[in-house]
């Protein structure tokens, strides 16, 4: 699906703010994400990443500020946004008591993939993932690494313009993480923009650009290479530590 936008900006936020009572979880953040980009959205626990992501995906209303996703306004057009995005949360969210093919069919149907295309595309997907033997397996009996791969494939099955991944590789072993990132690259090559949060700094190095949130604000935003130069650091890990030290919020 090609988006005909005036620019190649798929996602933008302008002074986006979320307050819970007197607590400002997200404090006036502004950034842009371009088409086909892998955008890393980093920050310590409690820095406001998930809250920001919930506003962008239409799960939560912004207290103030503006934003667009795939050309739609997050304040007024969240239902249109939902048709053009994919989402995979840190809490694994396929149906455990449905089989692999049934989960694919359900989400494909929900996103309006034409009925006669679902079956052949499911076959192709299972072949690519080398999952053909697991077609009739209940999702709850799959190993975690496989579940995450499946969840990601389901999240991009309808060819969204942007996919949001909230700590997609939490608790997954290094080998599975690696294959997972290969899948992310393949998706980006197909033109799907990837918006990903993670706690693994080696994964941050794989992103085209990363932003680092500290106490609700974006403190740094650039390519991993430029950030390392700017902070005079050897690795993204060091960059992260330098910034995270400034935090006054207690991590949870």
């Amino acid at each position: 699906m090609k988006q005909s936008l005036p620019t190649d900006i798929v996602l933008s936020a302008e002074n986006l703010t979320k307050k819970f009572g007197s607590f400002t979880a997200v404090d006036s953040i502004s950034f842009e994400v371009r088409k086909g980009e892998i955008f890393g959205f980093l920050g310590a626990n409690g820095a406001g990443k998930t809250t920001a992501m919930r506003m962008l995906t239409g799960l939560s209303n912004a207290s103030s500020g503006k934003g667009t996703v795939a050309g739609y306004d997050i304040n007024t057009q969240s239902e249109q946004i939902k048709k053009t995005i994919g989402y995979m949360s840190q809490k694994f969210a396929l149906y455990d008591d449905l089989k692999v093919w049934e989960n694919i069919r359900l989400f494909a149907g929900i996103y309006g993939v034409p009925a006669k295309e679902i079956a052949p595309r499911t076959d192709r997907l299972l072949r690519q993932l080398d999952f053909e033997k697991e077609r009739n397996t209940l999702v709850k009996s799959l190993p975690l690494g496989w579940k995450q791969k499946l969840a990601f494939s389901v999240a991009i099955f309808h060819e969204p313009s942007i996919v949001f991944l909230d700590e997609p590789t939490g608790g997954v072993d290094p080998a599975a993480r690696r294959t997972f990132w290969e899948m992310i690259y393949q998706a980006a090559d197909r033109g799907i923009t990837v918006f990903v949060t993670t706690h693994y700094m080696d994964e941050a190095e794989y992103c085209n650009r990363v932003s680092i949130m500290v106490d609700g604000k974006i403190e740094a935003l650039d390519t991993p290479g430029n950030l390392k130069k700017q902070f005079n650091a050897q690795s993204m890990d060091e960059v992260f530590h330098q910034l995270a030290r400034k935090s006054t919020r207690k991590a949870d």
Partner: protein, 370 residues
């Protein structure tokens, strides 16, 4: 889009190892067992007799009591105190003392006294036991009087005898009264509480949030949750009708169409109630306690166990807010009396009101976004 969601709900329902079996066996179990145990037709009172007279008349009275079928003479004591001890030992529930000179006074003075004393720890049982016993004694009394008077005056005594005619439930069977109510309880469970718990279950597992970032609209999400349970609910209701006929030969005097029409209204109301609960509860534990709280109130205020008319006035006012009250009333009336929709306009209006009220509340309290 809706059919994908409904398909999913049915797959999950039938894949559940527990629910389908429960749904099929519940109406059979409930209709077979509940009416047998939840029964006010008290029988087998244990009776202690203190017969200090030991005359033909006192003997006749005892035989009459025994032959009534309600009493088992478990103790024959010489004194009132001994008989009381047998009540204390839980060997008897009620005692009858026939004083010395019972027969002599009855013949000579035309009246005599007996003492009935009952254990009312269980008030219901004690009350009924002494009431039955009094009526047997009264009956005995009128027989004796007419016999004695005939002897003395040689003519019939004019007497007024009251013969009650019980309409609609001639055997005064509690069972027949209970079964329609039990059917409703099961329907409420399947169509009201199960979908509520199902929705809250999705909240707990995180799939609810996953659904909220998809284009699924809230009306589709809710309908997909309710439609399968509505289908299952009507299957269960039909099984209940069948079980009542199978076990008790119990068929409604009125029409099944009336029952289904009112059931549909009730199902709309109770599933609306379930949705309200699911909107406020974020864990299954919270949902269960919320349902428990309201359902207990609904049931006690519904007239399921005790007639609404016997409640204090303030409680009768509260009972007007129990949807169960109206549907149980309708089921009892249609089953026992054969009422038609025309006779049931008040419950029809009330149930429609509940359906609108709960569903509007559910729609207003449902937030896809916070």
């Amino acid at each position: 889009m809706l059919h994908y969601l409904i398909e999913k709900e049915f797959k999950q329902f039938f894949r559940n190892t527990f629910l389908p079996r429960l749904v099929i066996s519940l109406p059979f179990m409930a209709i077979l067992i509940f009416p047998l145990v939840a029964n006010y037709d008290v029988k087998n009172f244990n009776l202690s007799i203190v017969d200090s007279d030991k005359s033909p008349y006192s003997g006749e009275l005892v035989r009459k009591i025994e032959s009534s079928g309600y009493y088992r003479i478990t103790d024959v004591s010489a004194t009132f105190d001994d008989a009381l001890k047998s009540i204390e030992r839980h060997e008897s529930d009620i005692l009858l003392e026939i004083p010395v000179h019972f027969e002599k006074e009855l013949v000579r003075e035309g009246k005599a006294t007996v003492l009935i004393s009952s254990n009312t720890v269980n008030g219901m049982k004690g009350g009924l036991g002494s009431a039955y016993l009094s009526s047997i004694v009264a009956d005995f009394n009128s027989e004796i009087r007419s016999e004695l008077m005939q002897v003395s005056r040689g003519r019939q005594v004019p007497a007024i005898e009251i013969v009650p005619m019980y309409k609609f439930n001639p055997q005064l069977s509690y069972k027949v009264y209970m079964i329609p109510a039990i059917m409703i309880m099961i329907l409420a469970l399947v169509c009201g509480y199960l979908p509520a718990l199902n929705i809250v279950g999705e909240k707990e597992s995180g799939t609810f949030e996953q659904m909220n970032v998809t284009p699924v609209s809230k009306i589709h999400f809710i309908l997909a949750k309710l439609i399968p349970y509505w289908v299952v609910g009507f299957v269960v209701l039909t099984i209940s009708f069948f079980a009542a006929w199978l076990f008790y030969g119990f068929l409604p005097v009125g029409s099944f169409v009336t029952l289904y029409v009112f059931s549909s209204l009730f199902v709309l109301a109770i599933s609306g109630f379930g949705l309200v609960v699911s909107n406020y509860a974020s864990t299954i534990q919270q949902a269960i306690f919320m349902i428990f709280f309201f359902v207990l109130t609904f049931i006690f205020m519904s007239g399921l166990y005790t007639p609404v008319a016997s409640m204090p006035e303030w409680a009768q006012a509260i009972s007007a807010f129990s949807p169960l009250k109206y549907i149980i009333m309708v089921f009892r009336l249609v089953y026992l009396k054969g009422s038609t929709v025309h006779d049931l306009l008040v419950p029809f209006a009330a149930l429609s009101g509940f359906a609108i009220f709960f569903n509007s509340w559910a729609i207003m309290s449902y937030h896809k976004k916070n």
